[in-house]
């Protein structure tokens, strides 16, 4: 009976979903690899085969390598700060203080709002509110808008990203802390483990699975940052805060070099895949059972 209706069942249950997936993800992905070998400008109906010429174009595109380097720097800062802050806040939240749920829900709020809106909110904060604080108090730190100076604009981008992402990671770390075995914690305390030692030898190893997830999520999100980058700095001043994902967009849709843009997108994809794969492999090895 199963073989007789196998085809019909496949068409009914599997095909619609599979079709959407193939048409939107797999076909464009493969077609994208082909695009890197052509000189398409986005308009012309003819695509000439140019071999690996576009990858040569990527090599010569110094702006791409600058943005990639900047993205690396950004990822390191964001990943480390987000996870340290989220871990610390989650730790404080799970000590049995009052209003745990309220805090947790509040910290998560930025995650509900799109990056575009968040970026604009912070643009106002950096360019008007902080400057106004600077004018009133005379603090050098807030004298000029952070967004008009390359280094400070980068810091601003990191601040906003940390603010945006940490709420999500707090949720995951809180779930991790709640899952910690009370008996193990008590045994550690009885054995005299306190403070730093307890954190390093007991809590951290037991929290490794949460850390694996959080590192993975922050890594992949930070590498692909676009919305906040676009609305907060837009690459300004003078393209000094343009991250890799934004550069790829500009290359393809503004400079109309689709082949080079797609080649850069693929290189970015491979870098992200390798790094996050490596991260998951390395942190998974550290995971232990209680």
């Amino acid at each position: 009976m199963r073989t007789k209706h196998g085809g019909k069942e496949f068409c009914m249950f599997a095909l619609p979903g599979l079709f959407c997936f193939l048409a939107v993800v797999i076909v464009p992905f493969i077609y994208g690899v082909y695009l890197t070998l052509t000189d398409w400008d986005g308009v012309a109906s003819v695509k000439n085969f140019v071999g690996l010429e576009n990858f040569g174009g990527v090599m010569r595109d110094s702006q791409f390598w600058t943005s990639l380097l900047l993205t690396f720097k950004y990822v390191v800062f964001v990943v480390v700060i987000v996870n340290v802050i989220a871990f610390a806040i989650a730790y404080l939240l799970t000590r049995g203080i009052k209003g745990q749920n309220f805090f947790r829900a509040g910290f998560f709020t930025p995650n509900l709002i799109g990056g575009i809106v968040l970026g604009y909110i912070w643009q106002f904060v950096f360019s008007r509110v902080f400057v106004s604080i600077g004018e009133t108090t005379g603090w050098k730190l807030f004298e000029a808008s952070w967004l008009s100076d390359p280094t400070n604009a980068f810091v601003a981008l990191v601040v906003v990203s940390v603010w945006q992402l940490s709420g999500y990671m707090i949720l995951i770390y809180v779930a991790g802390f709640m899952g910690l075995n009370e008996d193990v914690m008590e045994a550690a305390s009885i054995d005299g483990a306190t403070g730093w030692v307890k954190l390093k030898s007991i809590i951290l190893p037991l929290m490794m699975s949460s850390i694996t997830i959080c590192l993975f999520l922050t890594l992949s999100r930070a590498f692909m940052v676009y919305d906040v980058n676009l609305s907060l700095t837009g690459g300004a001043p003078y393209g000094t805060t343009e991250m890799a994902a934004m550069h790829v967009y500009e290359k393809a849709f503004t400079s109309r070099q689709f082949g080079v843009g797609q080649a850069e997108a693929l290189i970015l994809f491979i870098i992200v895949a390798v790094i996050s794969g490596l991260q998951v492999y390395l942190t998974k090895k550290q995971e232990v059972e209680a």
Binding site: F13, G17, P28, I116, Y120, R128, W163, D227, V272
Partner: protein, 286 residues
């Protein structure tokens, strides 16, 4: 807390310090939102004079900004567009992914194995790696950009892999095959079995996926910005973007516009807080 008796006062003090620290950090987190709310009610010159001023002088408080933002952003239309796209794509991906995952779990053949492997592998592909060919295919060859349906279809396709993965895990762990066999003996067809027996059992995972997907669709900017250019069709993030480009110097109106975008989400969040937080945690941990 039982443990607090062991540590005594020291523990109490530590908790009080933790509380104070948390409150300070929390206020810092909420500060940008507070600024938006305060300044959305002020006139431009008051904002430039001091973004804090409203705290001390109530003079000049008005809702004019909201009126202006509401009409300039074409808020109702953008809201409607976002709602149509989000709801249709969410419903579509939920049903199609549940069916596909169900097929994969119940059929141990080469097709389902290959499909599943392909989907899991594709989850690491970032959107940026496919956006250019996507525009090339759907804009150039097929020429069907600038339709809501195209966007809905693409949202569905992009969230398919993740959704199937989640449903797959849930069905394998929580839907006993004996139930389906019983239904089969009682004369149910495959589709009746799925819609009447299996689907109701999937409620927990459906609510998780609906929350995750609809949040992603509602807030997405990059994909809609590539698909929709027609002013009539813009979703909320897109119309915010174009609105900001035109009025960026008009702070009061901008703040009101941003607040208008945030308010509907906040209302929903307050109402469904438990489900949303639970859904996000469940989605991440898997």
């Amino acid at each position: 807390m039982k443990k607090s008796t062991i540590g005594g006062n020291k523990r109490k003090l530590a908790n009080a310090l933790a509380m104070i620290g948390l409150i300070i950090v929390f206020i810092a987190y909420m500060f940008p939102f507070l600024m938006v709310v305060i300044n959305s009610l002020k006139e431009k010159r008051d904002i430039i004079k001091s973004p804090f001023s409203w705290l001390f002088t109530i003079k000049g408080l008005s809702f004019d900004n909201f009126e202006k933002a509401f009409t300039q952003m074409d808020f109702l239309n953008a809201f409607k567009n976002s709602l149509i796209v989000t709801v249709s794509a969410t419903v579509l991906v939920t049903i199609l992914a549940a069916m596909l995952a169900y097929y994969i779990v119940r059929h141990n053949n080469a097709v389902s194995k290959l499909t599943f492997a392909l989907m899991v592998a594709s989850m690491i592909i970032p959107f940026q790696a496919i956006m250019i060919p996507l525009v090339s295919i759907y804009g150039g060859t097929l020429n069907i950009l600038n339709h809501r349906l195209t966007l809905i279809f693409m949202h569905t396709g992009f969230s398919m892999a993740m959704s199937v993965f989640m449903f797959h895990g849930f069905i394998r762990g929580n839907v006993p095959i004996a139930l389906e066999e019983a239904a089969c003996i009682d004369g149910c067809t495959r589709s009746q079995t799925f819609f009447k027996i299996v689907l109701p059992l999937l409620k927990p995972i459906i609510s998780t996926m609906v929350i995750l997907n609809s949040m992603a669709f509602w807030n997405d900017f990059l994909l809609p910005s590539l698909v929709l250019t027609d002013k009539e069709l813009l979703t909320l993030p897109l119309s915010t973007y174009s609105f900001y480009g035109t009025y960026s110097a008009d702070y009061g109106t901008i703040m009101a516009g941003l607040l208008l975008c945030v308010i509907p989400i906040m209302i929903l969040y307050v109402a469904l807080q438990k489900q949303i937080i639970g859904g996000v945690v469940a989605g991440a941990v898997k």
